[in-house]
């Protein structure tokens, strides 16, 4: 099997599964309980939080464990909007965000908020000038992803952070689900107030994630109850999941440090192979992109058909975000880049992980060439 859909989800590291198993077995107490089973669990939770904080170079009380990226994004966006609406009701985001950001914003529009969805250029990158110009006295939140999930383009987060810093009344949220561990952003003193991370995109477990919330940031919680996670997130903590998440972050950082060139080489090889295929158009630009994601189109070929044919050879890639299917045919992200319908309706995404190898890329390209030729014959 060749798995090239690592932006949809990744295979958990064996060590991550092992920590999950061990914690489930040995630390089953409820961290809120006052007896020894509870206090042992609470100690472990505290340690996990300290470790996460030190890995991210932030304070311990700035880490809130969540059930994943969608919850992180919803908590950040609605949490800021609902807590600060008396200051203003304007939100700035982009047209190429993940559905959990876009839909959270649409939901807020129904509550009377005003949302600006900034366009992107042909390369899929938002303009810093546009962000600056969109800010009004009513703006309370800017939410921009660091790396786009379909294209792999890197957004100018550092620059937007600098702008956000000049407007102390507004908050800046970064959806870092696809970028985490691939492109680094120092959170401290960056102008970023909130940052979403998901476990299963970095070889952690599904149902785990964390939200960075800068000190002294008030948010309205999504869920009410026992006031766990400093009141930001009620509900019994998924301790085994939390410990496994921190393990995944640590291992992923190790990989990112030692294997960056490896993925870069895979990306170069992939680009070279794909450029040999007749009619194939690479959509990911050749600058400001992460090595892990490459988006391309085969105009005239239905992406589902290509994916199915590759699947028969046990090669797995995808069309667009697994989460978006609003318009079943067209990629919203590619459309936002102003590309032709022929391109936006035939987008395919390869997403790499550190454990992919050059042979995977060769086999994929061979298979794609063959499928392309076979389909051309059928379609005559």
């Amino acid at each position: 099997m060749i798995y090239l859909d690592n932006s949809a989800t990744t295979k958990p590291y064996p060590e991550v599964v092992e920590s999950f198993r061990q914690v489930s077995e040995k630390y089953y107490g409820n961290p809120s309980s006052v007896h020894s089973f509870g206090t042992e669990a609470e100690k472990l939770l505290r340690m996990a939080k300290q470790q996460a904080a030190s890995l991210l170079h932030v304070h311990e009380d700035e880490i809130v464990f969540t059930s994943g990226g969608t919850e992180g994004n919803n908590t950040a966006i609605k949490g800021i909007a609902l807590a600060h609406q008396n200051r203003g009701k304007h939100i700035i985001t982009t047209q190429i965000e993940h559905p959990s950001v876009l839909e959270a914003c649409t939901a807020l529009e129904r509550l009377g908020f005003d949302v600006t969805y900034l366009p992107v250029n042909k390369q899929g990158i938002v303009s810093v000038e546009d962000v600056k110009n969109a800010i009004t006295k009513d703006t309370i939140l800017i939410s921009i992803m660091h790396v786009n999930n379909e294209l792999g383009t890197i957004q100018p987060i550092k620059e937007v952070g600098a702008i956000a810093k000049q407007h102390p009344k507004l908050f800046f949220h970064v959806d870092h689900v696809q970028g985490f561990g691939k492109v680094s952003i120092p959170l401290h003193d960056s102008g970023i107030d909130l940052c979403t991370i998901s476990g299963h995109k970095i070889h952690g477990l599904k149902g785990t994630g964390l939200l960075y919330i800068k000190r002294n940031t008030t948010i309205f919680p999504l869920m009410h109850g026992g006031d766990q996670e400093m009141g930001y997130r009620s509900g019994t903590e998924n301790l085994a999941g939390i410990v496994s998440l921190v393990k995944a972050i640590r291992l992923y950082f190790d990989h990112a440090n030692t294997r960056t060139n490896h993925v870069k080489r895979l990306n170069e090889k992939l680009r070279a192979c794909l450029s040999e295929i007749n009619g194939l158009v690479i959509n990911t630009p050749d600058h400001d992109y992460v090595d892990h994601i490459l988006n391309f189109s085969l105009p005239g070929f239905k992406p589902e058909v290509v994916i199915h044919a590759l699947g028969e050879k046990e090669i797995y890639i995808s069309t667009k975000s697994a989460c978006s299917s609003k318009q079943p045919d067209e990629s919203v992200v590619l459309a936002a880049c102003g590309l032709d319908k022929a391109i936006t309706k035939s987008g395919l995404r390869v997403s790499l992980a550190y454990d992919n190898c050059e042979e995977d890329i060769e086999a994929f390209c061979e298979a794609l060439k063959m499928i392309r030729n076979q389909l051309s014959e059928v379609m005559g």
């Binding site: 295979k11 006052v34 919850e71 869920m223």
Partner: protein
């Protein structure tokens, strides 16, 4: 001293069978929303689990929404129906003895302009049906009453409540987190519209639960994003967690009778041992109306803090109430509702809850340790 865990109402150890079921799933790591076969395999596993969850309460599988736990299920049930049905009225009925996931959500809804009636309970721990009936108005859109109270284990008359709500526009939500697995919950025989369940209370993994939403019930989602769970709860599904939960459900279904008998016997021996040891105690709530796994006991002449500290030193893990409030030593809001806030039971009562981590010998041993501590403290 060997620690004895008597706090299964706070959380339970994961059944080894559940772990065994989950581990291979981490290898089938596809995203259920992916269209390739690897994703579809994950989807199949998810569908299978949904059928298991649905059949456990005689529901349709499409009416099951997997959540991150009981708190999220309660929040969706209450906020979701309140917001989606406010055109019909803005009145909600609940009780003073609910879990904080319900109570704090109700308080939030009050701030949003909803009117909430918090029903009192009788000394036996149950709500009184006549006052419930009297509280229902044309404006009522939601009734949220737990099936079993987490502190006392007292079972609420949900059948009778459901029968009353049946002919009313209001939806009936029950927080079944403590009841599920031991009580027979049939959403058709008892006409329940929404029902919350948590996995880690039935020996499944933490971070998973489900909300049953009867077909046709209008609910707004709490989170927005992808198409997962028919848009009622977006976010990549926690496949392994859901499969572990489904396994725990299956085991709970198969062993329900056996567990009822075992825990009932534990409870009996626990109390009998305390009696033999000749200490002074009262059981809170009406014995016949409690579930087998939970007992709440008042020890006159003591106080919760010193009891819990000494129990813990003697290796007995019990609690003063909900784990979610256990950090505080405020008088129990549940016992205050039953006996009045001045009653000393509110500050000298302990919840013992039995389960998978126990055996008969442990129960006797635990009761003896408890008795000796109580004797020492009341001297």
């Amino acid at each position: 001293m060997n620690p004895i865990y008597l706090d299964h109402a706070a959380t339970t150890p994961m059944d080894p069978e559940v772990t065994k079921e989950m581990l291979p799933i981490f290898e089938v790591y596809g995203n259920p929303s992916s269209i390739h076969s690897f994703g579809r395999k994950a989807r199949q596993l998810l569908d299978q689990s949904r059928r298991i969850a649905a059949s456990s309460i005689h529901a349709n599988e499409k009416d099951i929404v997997f959540t991150s736990g009981g708190t999220e299920a309660d929040n969706i049930a209450m906020i979701g129906t309140a917001h989606a049905n406010q055109h019909k009225g803005k009145h909600i009925i609940t009780t003073v003895i609910e879990h904080h996931a319900t109570l704090h959500t109700a308080e939030y809804l009050e701030k949003q302009g909803f009117k909430v009636t918090y029903l009192p309970v009788e000394e036996n721990g149950q709500i009184e049906l006549e006052s419930f009936k009297a509280a229902l108005t044309d404006e009522t859109i939601l009734v949220s009453i737990m099936a079993v109270n987490n502190e006392t284990g007292v079972i609420q008359p949900i059948q009778e409540i459901a029968d009353i709500v049946k002919d009313h526009q209001a939806y009936f939500h029950t927080d079944a987190v403590q009841a599920y697995g031991l009580l027979d919950l049939n959403v058709n025989e008892i006409s329940i519209d929404l029902l919350s369940v948590s996995s880690h209370k039935i020996n499944g993994p933490k971070g998973i639960g489900f909300l049953y939403i009867r077909e046709g019930v209008l609910v707004e989602a709490l989170q927005h994003g992808g198409q997962q769970e028919r848009k009622r709860r977006p976010g990549t599904e926690n496949v392994a967690g859901i499969i572990g939960f489904a396994k725990a459900i299956q085991i709970a279904q198969q062993k329900r009778e056996e567990r009822i008998n075992t825990y009932q016997a534990y409870k009996q021996s626990f109390v009998e041992t305390l009696e033999q040891e000749a200490i002074n105690f009262f059981v809170n709530g009406e014995w016949e109306k409690t579930i087998p796994s939970t007992i709440n006991i008042s020890f006159p002449g003591t106080n919760v803090e010193s009891l819990l500290t000494n129990f813990d030193l003697a290796g007995i893990a019990a609690s003063s109430g909900s784990a979610c409030t256990a950090g505080s030593v405020e008088p129990s809001h549940v016992l205050s509702a039953m006996y009045g806030s001045e009653n000393e039971r509110t500050t000298n009562s302990i919840r013992f809850s039995f389960g998978l981590a126990n055996n008969q010998d442990q129960i006797i041993e635990a009761a003896k340790r408890v008795a000796s501590i109580v004797k020492r403290l009341v001297k």
